[in-house]
């Protein structure tokens, strides 16, 4: 073996070992576990059950409900987060007094602990909380026992918090995208007498396409994996059970059925993979997306 190859292997070794033992091994182990009736308290008694976990899952009303709620969460939060982040980035990209303060203020929730934010919002959403009082003042009917204790509002309340929390982070990414657009393009447009909206739709948005798609991909993956908010705010009650919370509950709290939970995790993995592949396909398209 020549010296340069040894060096290359030496440098790659730490990452390769981490990948093998911390990522690949659990991934394969979970896949195998999904085909067994592995119970966390009885690991020695695990038996091969083939696709039984998958067929049971697809007939389990709780799991179907968790998939439904997860899709509501993903499809509800992603457009709202992306559009609001774009609008805010366009606003704070302009030059005005106190611009830095606005940028920092919008970004602040992104660097705050999700658990802390969830606890604050749990209080805000409760019966007689500030949000209920504000809503009552402007004549909106509020749930009798609080926003998180009502099947009709609990999930949407958590989604609203998630949008509020994430929007600043994606705004910053959009802002970076806006900064990378050459000023010359706007100067030419201005000389040609083009208005604001024409510039927005003909220059800004087309050039922001890669950034927007990047945001879509990472936000989709993050949203499919929603867990902490549910754990802290509702424990999956009031129709807020999502897929990851379902996996956690089956695997670690009530039944300790790790095999069943692993199969559910692989279904989630497939869903995320399909969405990511579609988004990557869109990212590679040559023709304009809008």
């Amino acid at each position: 073996m020549n010296r340069s190859l040894t060096k290359v292997l030496g440098f790659a070794l730490p990452w390769s070992l981490t990948f093998l033992f911390v990522w690949l091994f659990p991934l394969v182990y979970a896949l195998v576990m999904g085909f067994t009736d592995y119970n966390l308290l009885r690991p020695d008694e695990a038996k091969w059950v083939g696709f039984q976990n998958y067929s049971t899952l697809l007939a389990d009303p709780d799991f179907i409900n968790a998939i439904k709620n997860t899709f509501i969460f993903v499809l509800g939060t992603i457009p709202a987060t992306t559009i609001m982040a774009l609008i805010m980035a366009l606003l704070v990209n302009r030059s005005f007094k106190g611009r830095g303060l606005f940028r920092s203020a919008y970004f602040l929730p992104s660097i705050t602990s999700l658990v802390v934010i969830s606890l604050i919002f749990t209080n805000l959403y409760q019966r007689g909380g500030y949000i209920a009082q504000l809503a009552s003042m402007i004549g909106i009917t509020v749930p009798e026992y609080g926003f998180l204790y009502d099947n009709a509002t609990a999930l949407y309340s958590i989604m609203a918090m998630d949008v509020w929390m994430s929007v600043g982070y994606y705004m910053l990414i959009f802002l970076a995208g806006l900064k990378s657009i050459p000023d010359e393009l706007y100067e030419v447009a201005e000389i040609s007498g083009v208005g604001y909206f024409r510039k927005l739709f003909s220059i800004t948005l087309p050039l922001l396409k890669p950034v927007a798609l990047f945001i879509l991909v990472i936000n989709t993956i993050k949203s499919f994996q929603v867990f902490v908010e549910i754990f802290v705010m509702s424990k999956g009650k009031f129709d807020t059970m999502t897929m990851v919370y379902f996996i956690y509950e089956k695997g670690f709290t009530t039944t300790l059925q790790s095999g069943y939970a692993s199969a559910a995790a692989y279904i989630l993995f497939i869903i995320i993979a399909v969405f990511s592949i579609i988004q990557f396909f869109l990212l590679r398209r040559k023709e304009p997306l809008w």
Binding site: L41, R127, N151, F238, T253, L256
Partner: protein, 444 residues
């Protein structure tokens, strides 16, 4: 050890020999200084003696791991004090204490036991004992309890398949808390307490009619591990049972059970301040609720927060006075994989002696130690609220000690949630669904 200097050329050697007055150091080994030799020898001796000390000490001292849930600033020092006292009395045993939280303690214990590691002594909530015992993770301590069994109560919480898998430490039940000021305003005597469900309902409605921000009843929301503890006292007090005597049939949808859930739902819908346990207690302490079901931790809160609430504690009403309540507790168990079972049991017995249970209860304001001798102490007998808890515990029922109980509990909670918060105004149907699920679970 020899020290030699290597020089490559003869010229270099000659040069140095000349510089150090003609002594040829190159053909003679250099000796290290005497002080260095002495330091080295001392180091060898130190390492040797340390090794000997460690090995001899390791033989003499057994270290046991104890996982427990009490992290409160007032209670933790008492746990530490009890552990220190134990170590003083048993110099051959060290105890390492690890604190868990109720939020994720169960998961940590599951993972530790699954990996065949985990502590030697572990505190478990009574609902978990059967699950771990059935999987073979808890040591059978039946033989060790024989001489002490009469001095303690709560063995039923840790008895599974006629074997004892844990030592009852602190027991817990729920009683009825009444706001005396509100019931007086509602036209009752200040010492009035409802003795049956009919009277309770009447009093709850009357208090509820006092004003828009006053509620007759504190009702739990869909709160995991808590809701069923509030419903089951109604369920049992109506005479309903979860299983037939032979354990073959689930009776959760009996007429008694339906009546119990109907009343629970009526209080919830008509007069209920609905929140999580903490929220209900906050509202009760703020004088907004007439009646709530709670545990002795509320007494501690009232004392610690110096609340001026005028309240009473009474037994849970029944169809005929008195009613049944929920019984649970903290159980001290020995890990079946532990190699220090004897030391672990010795420690458990030490924690459970009357003096140590008293110390703990005083710090935690717990009303119901498992040790009967401890319960006779003036600290408990002179406090009227503690006496209520003591009476109620004698009329309390614990859920079945069943490895599937955690799942059954979830099923029962879902049925109650469906009745209280579901779209349809049904009571019997959610209970029938629960029965089907529990039977499917038992027949799996």
């Amino acid at each position: 050890m020899n020290f030699r200097i290597r020089l490559d050329s003869k010229q270099q050697k000659d040069f140095l020999i000349d510089r150090i007055s003609g002594i040829d150091i190159f053909n003679k080994p250099m000796q290290p200084p005497k002080q260095m030799i002495a330091v080295k020898q001392a180091l060898y001796a130190l390492v040797l003696s340390l090794t000997l000390f460690i090995f001899s000490h390791a033989d003499a001292v057994t270290t046991i791991e104890f996982w427990q849930f009490w992290t409160d600033a007032e209670i933790k020092p008492v746990i530490t004090e009890i552990v220190n006292d134990f170590e003083k009395q048993n110099p051959a045993i060290d105890v390492n204490v690890t604190d868990l939280t109720w939020a994720n303690g169960h998961e940590k214990i599951v993972i530790a036991l699954a990996s065949k590691s985990g502590p030697d002594v572990l505190e478990l909530g009574s609902d978990w004992v059967a699950q771990f015992a059935d999987a073979g993770h808890l040591a059978d301590i039946t033989a060790s309890t024989a001489s002490d069994s009469a001095q303690f109560r709560g063995w039923g919480l840790s008895t599974y398949n006629s074997k004892i898998y844990g030592w009852p430490w602190i027991l817990g039940t729920r009683v009825l808390f009444t706001n005396r000021d509100l019931i007086t305003k509602a036209g009752f005597d200040s010492v009035y307490h409802p003795i049956n469900f009919t009277e309770l309902k009447k009093a709850v409605y009357k208090v509820d009619s006092l004003g828009k921000s006053i509620y007759g009843w504190g009702s739990n929301t869909a709160e995991k591990h808590r809701l069923y503890k509030k419903f089951l006292p109604f369920f049992w007090s109506y005479g309903a049972r979860l299983f037939s005597d032979d354990g073959k049939y689930c009776l959760i949808a009996s007429d008694y059970a339906v009546d119990a859930l109907k009343l629970y739902k009526e209080l919830h819908d008509s007069c209920g301040y609905v929140a999580d346990q903490r929220g209900i207690e906050d509202a009760f302490l703020d004088g907004k609720i007439g009646f709530i079901i709670s545990g002795d931790w509320l007494l501690k809160r009232i004392e610690q927060e110096e609340r001026k609430i005028n309240f009473a504690t009474t037994l849970i009403p029944g169809t005929k006075f008195p009613g049944k309540s929920f019984l649970g507790g903290e159980i001290l168990c020995v890990n079946n994989a532990s190699e220090k079972k004897e030391a672990a049991l010795k420690f458990i017995k030490f924690i459970s002696v009357p003096e140590n249970q008293l110390k703990f209860c005083k710090a935690n304001r717990s009303s119901t130690p498992s040790n009967k001798q401890s319960q006779k102490n003036e600290y408990f007998t002179s406090n009227p609220h503690f006496l209520t808890f003591d009476k109620q515990i004698q009329l309390a029922i614990h859920p079945p000690v069943d490895p599937d109980w955690v799942q059954m509990e979830d099923i029962i909670e879902r049925a109650v949630e469906e009745a209280l918060f579901g779209k349809d105004d049904l009571v019997a149907e959610p209970l029938r669904t629960a029965r089907r699920k529990i039977e499917a679970l038992k027949n799996k």
